[in-house]
């Protein structure tokens, strides 16, 4: 992509198998580039190697990358974690719970059950700082975006758009159907790294009451909220 990037595209699909492969190659590439100032990001089916300045010898770079990618044996990714995130599905935050319930012929309890059941896979972070692209939403909850996006969605809002679910890391305009609020700060510029959850990790939501949400919010703003996490053996 231009003079500053090499884009590697894989088959156009969204799957954990492909994610494993991407993260494996990403690690390999990072080892290859320890000496050079590059940054490598992954999305569902691509890796982008971006350079600080223009690439000097594109031919050499591309053949080095190709050689590395020819390695067929894909190893498992280690250090994957499950993060448990609290969500308050109270009507105060779940602006579209009623609409989803009506359209999908589900009770609110069923919606919460379906939304908190899966171990969502974190594919990558993009769109906004700390916005996680999660895969694994139950088909019964898939619903189209709003025709007219809202001007302002609250920070922490948990929403659904088609087959995706996610958390708005800051207040912004948006078209997703909103079902609750997650008080955890997913991106903090003062932390290193600024975002604890990364590609390959799992996210599981758990339902909390309004009182619990308030308590967690207070802990978050005092900086002593401990995110629940455990190792994940895929």
């Amino acid at each position: 992509m231009g003079e500053r990037g090499i884009l590697i595209e894989f088959e156009p699909e969204i799957s954990e198998r492909l994610l494993e492969k991407l993260l494996f190659y990403k690690n390999k590439l990072e080892e290859l580039y320890t000496e050079v100032n590059v940054e490598i990001i992954n999305t569902y089916n691509s890796l982008l190697i971006s350079y600080m300045f223009s690439i000097e010898n594109l031919y050499d770079e591309v053949s080095a990358v190709k050689e590395l990618l020819s390695e067929a044996k894909i190893g498992k990714i280690n250090n994957r974690q499950i993060f448990r995130l609290p969500v308050c599905y109270d009507e105060e935050f779940g602006w579209d719970l009623e609409l989803i319930a009506e359209e999908k012929n589900l009770s609110k309890e069923e919606i919460i059950k379906l939304h908190t059941r899966p171990f969502y896979t974190v594919y990558f972070t993009g769109f906004l700082p700390g916005f996680l692209y999660l895969g694994g939403l139950d088909e019964k909850l898939q619903i189209s975006r709003k025709n007219q996006p809202r001007m302002k969605i609250e920070k922490g809002a948990v929403g659904i758009g088609e087959n995706q679910t996610g958390i708005y890391p800051k207040s912004s305009p948006g078209g997703w159907q909103i079902l609750g609020n997650c008080p955890v700060q997913l991106f903090n510029k003062n932390n290193d790294p600024p975002c604890e959850i990364s590609a390959g990790d799992k996210v599981k939501f758990y339902s909390v009451s309004k009182a619990e949400l308030k308590e967690i919010s207070a802990q978050v703003s005092e900086g002593n909220f401990q995110l629940k996490k455990e190792n994940y053996e895929g």
Binding site: R4, G5, F127, G130, C195
Partner: protein, 285 residues
């Protein structure tokens, strides 16, 4: 000695920028940094600053600034009729500043963005490795009245070359934007490909540090792609047939087909275009 620039009047939209924020795209943090790198390098070179010393990026209607101590400045990029106290000054030269001096700007003559470099660079906060302002990352997102920006005062005569370096400002007026085919270029029908090569496009009023939209509407049959990586200079084609040139503050990923990718020089030229200006893509392969 610590010194500060006081913002007497903020102007339209000005920010502090350097080369941008590296290493945080994987957390969804934009690269940011100056829109026009040529101007940043020129202004810093004139002052013999580090190439990436932080500068002020000034859009169209400039601010009014007051300096608390002696230093030197240089202005590059767009020519926005700068004045020191009551005297007109030129772009691309060293300007001596004394305590209490006031810098202001007048009529925008050519170009979109002007760059004010100061000896040793602005010493505003560094967040995630960069001083570039970006909403929610840095404490400020644009100049506001009364704000004070730190710099190092320099009383002694640091040697600054006055040797005549010829600066080529022709790029500011160029209409030719060098591009490479984007990842989805080959999926376009031939008619659209040649249209992209041959037509002129005009810059829409919908343009900022994130993206510059072009006004023309193209016949688009390409659907969205699986969300994939984008970079500054990526040209997206929306379902409605509009071309969007992503710029330095762009998001890290996107779901519209990426039909072209601007060269570095192309991005710098694009950064100097304002609503109504025409551009033409020069496709390289």
């Amino acid at each position: 000695m610590k010194a500060e620039v006081e913002i007497l009047y903020p102007g339209l939209f000005s920010t502090i920028q350097d080369f941008g924020r590296r290493g945080f795209q994987k957390y969804g943090v934009p690269l940011s940094g100056v829109m026009d790198r040529i101007a940043l390098k020129t202004a810093n070179l004139i002052l013999q600053n580090q190439a990436d010393a932080a500068v002020m990026e000034i859009t169209q209607m400039g601010p009014k600034l007051k300096f608390s101590a002696a230093t030197k400045i240089a202005i590059s990029g767009a020519y926005l009729s700068p004045k020191l106290n009551d005297t007109e000054i030129d772009n691309n030269e060293v300007v001596k500043i004394h305590e209490g001096d006031i810098l202001s700007f007048g009529r925008p003559e050519y170009g979109m963005r002007s760059y004010l470099a100061i000896l040793d660079g602005f010493k505003t906060e560094k967040v995630l490795g960069s001083r570039s302002w970006y909403e929610d990352i840095t404490s400020h997102e644009k100049l506001e009245k009364g704000m004070k920006l730190q710099y190092e005062a320099s009383e002694e005569e640091k040697y600054v070359t006055h040797a005549a370096i010829k600066f080529d400002d022709e790029y500011l007026k160029s209409e030719e934007i060098e591009v490479f085919p984007g990842p989805e270029f080959e999926k376009l029908p031939e008619t659209l490909k040649s249209h992209l090569r041959q037509s002129k496009f005009s810059v829409d009023k919908n343009n900022n540090r994130m993206a510059i939209q072009l006004s023309e509407v193209l016949e688009n049959q390409l659907g969205p792609i699986i969300t994939g990586p984008v970079l500054p200079g990526t040209v997206q084609l929306t379902p409605g047939g509009k071309l969007i040139v992503l710029m330095r503050d762009c998001q890290t990923t996107g779901g519209y087909p990426r039909v072209l990718q601007l060269s570095e020089k192309g991005i710098n030229i694009m950064a100097q275009k304002k609503a109504g200006d025409m551009v033409r893509f020069l496709l390289k392969s």
